[in-house]
Symmetry: C2
């Protein structure tokens, strides 16, 4: 029986239709990632914000500059003490790499959307330094498909594990990352127990979230065009109450995605090594692009 | 011209009717404070959550135990370095004291509501140690009335000042505290410049917010009865989308009220001294009760 946390209200990818489905598809293709972030799925309940906000973000998020900025985020997302090394099957490792790759981008996206809807800058001060070269669309060829466990059909052991991970983070629901890894409950349990639980919400963790936030805000401020909607722009697609809800959603998910970015970075370090785990699994400098 | 931040969507006290107006009045009377928190005014846009959640909280929040717990919060809310001393007129000092008194209580209220709607404990493990003696209702006789500046009629200088305070905190709108103190713009500007701006969002500030959060959660866990609604209880008065919005609102305001609790504690220290500013301006041990 799913709890209200494991089944938090959202529009899942297979449930989206019309402009929302198109936005989901465009988001995945432009970011070159195999899932739509939890934040977007939750915000999709509030009017037409998500498709409109994605249209604002799309130009910047399809550039080589964004890929470089994401590399910088990943390199900054590690805690002072590296995690223990953990062995997992290749499909678990591939899933972690894909999530690790995507979270840095979603952190920049949520930051831009949050800054914009808070009435602050989400970019637009173009000094020519941003690399606006277009990235090819679509996920890299060797990136796995990801499937999120459905809480409505998951077993009690999986739901209990997801609930524990949610509570350890003081989150409101399970990140996509944990719903993906819940396909391998014993490995997720081991990774959480050995790699994440010892550090989540410690002083080092909270301080690194703080550093990452400030860096993400600085990167967003240097975007060549605004990637978020201002309150007035949002007002064209949502009413005042929906806008208030979206501001709160963005505030909540700003911290949430900081956390999962640090989490998947740490998982990548546990699987691939403390230095290798900080690098992009799909670097723009490789033939993979 | 108010910005979307200075005029964030909410139900102001004079706009409330019916069960919401009754809840606002009961909240002020039970907590013995002269205003309804910003969080409640914003959440009042989402179904009948606020009146129902207040009914859950009211028994605990009308006890001497709650007054003692608030004393503990205030004593913990100071930063390592005390602020400079600042001189202000008596009416400004009285307003700061009333806000300082109330914020510690509202921090516990938002924490209980947030824990509950996140599906965690908001109390109910009664071991007999909570002092359930009833507090007398109504604000202490010498507590001032407070008036919040209306952004729709405020001057541009006041709106600019409120916007700066919002941005320095990375908040979504001005706390009631700053809308009250905006009646004296030159004093609010001086207090912000000298007392708050140098510390807001510094490492010390963010770490103290973290400590306060953990202490507030521990206090709430020790409440004799649950003071928040569980997701299922909330589901009786709001729909799923409203519930999701409220979870996000509570996440956002959890941090927000930690911040303003530290802010008014620091303002009280600046006006009344580093030690005196940590004590309740309306202590239960005095004849004022």
């Amino acid at each position: 029986m799913p709890t209200p946390r494991t089944a938090f209200p959202q529009v899942e990818e297979h449930e989206a239709t019309g402009a929302l489905a198109e936005a989901y598809t465009s988001m995945r293709g432009t970011l070159r990632v195999p899932w739509v972030m939890f934040a977007a799925r939750c915000m999709a309940r509030f009017g037409d914000y998500v498709p409109a906000a994605w249209e604002a973000a799309r130009p910047v998020f399809g550039t080589v500059g964004l890929e470089r900025a994401s590399d910088e985020i990943r390199a900054l997302a590690a805690l002072p003490e590296p995690p223990p090394r953990v062995e997992v099957p290749d499909d678990v490792r591939a899933a972690v790499r894909a999530l690790h790759y995507g979270n840095a981008k979603y952190l920049l996206l949520i930051t831009a959307w949050s800054e914009g809807l808070h009435g602050r800058s989400s970019g637009g001060h173009d000094d020519g330094s941003w690399d606006t070269t277009a990235l090819p669309g679509g996920a890299p060829a060797d990136m796995p498909e990801l499937t999120l466990v459905d809480p409505r059909t998951a077993g009690d052991d999986v739901l209990t594990l997801l609930d524990r991970i949610v509570d350890d983070h003081l989150h409101h629901g399970p990140a996509s990352d944990f719903r993906v890894l819940a396909a391998w409950p014993e490995h997720l349990a081991a990774l959480h127990h050995q790699v994440l639980a010892p550090v989540v919400r410690t002083v080092d963790y909270d301080l690194r979230a703080r550093d990452l936030l400030h860096r993400a805000r600085a990167i967003v401020g240097a975007f060549p065009t605004p990637a978020g909607l201002s309150p007035a722009q949002a007002g064209e697609v949502v009413d005042d109450t929906q806008r208030a809800a979206l501001v709160a959603m963005l505030s909540m998910f700003q911290r949430f995605i900081l956390d999962v970015t640090m989490d998947t970075t740490r998982l990548a370090q546990a699987l691939d090594g403390p230095e290798e785990g900080l690098r992009s699994p799909y670097p723009t400098t490789s033939g993979k692009l």
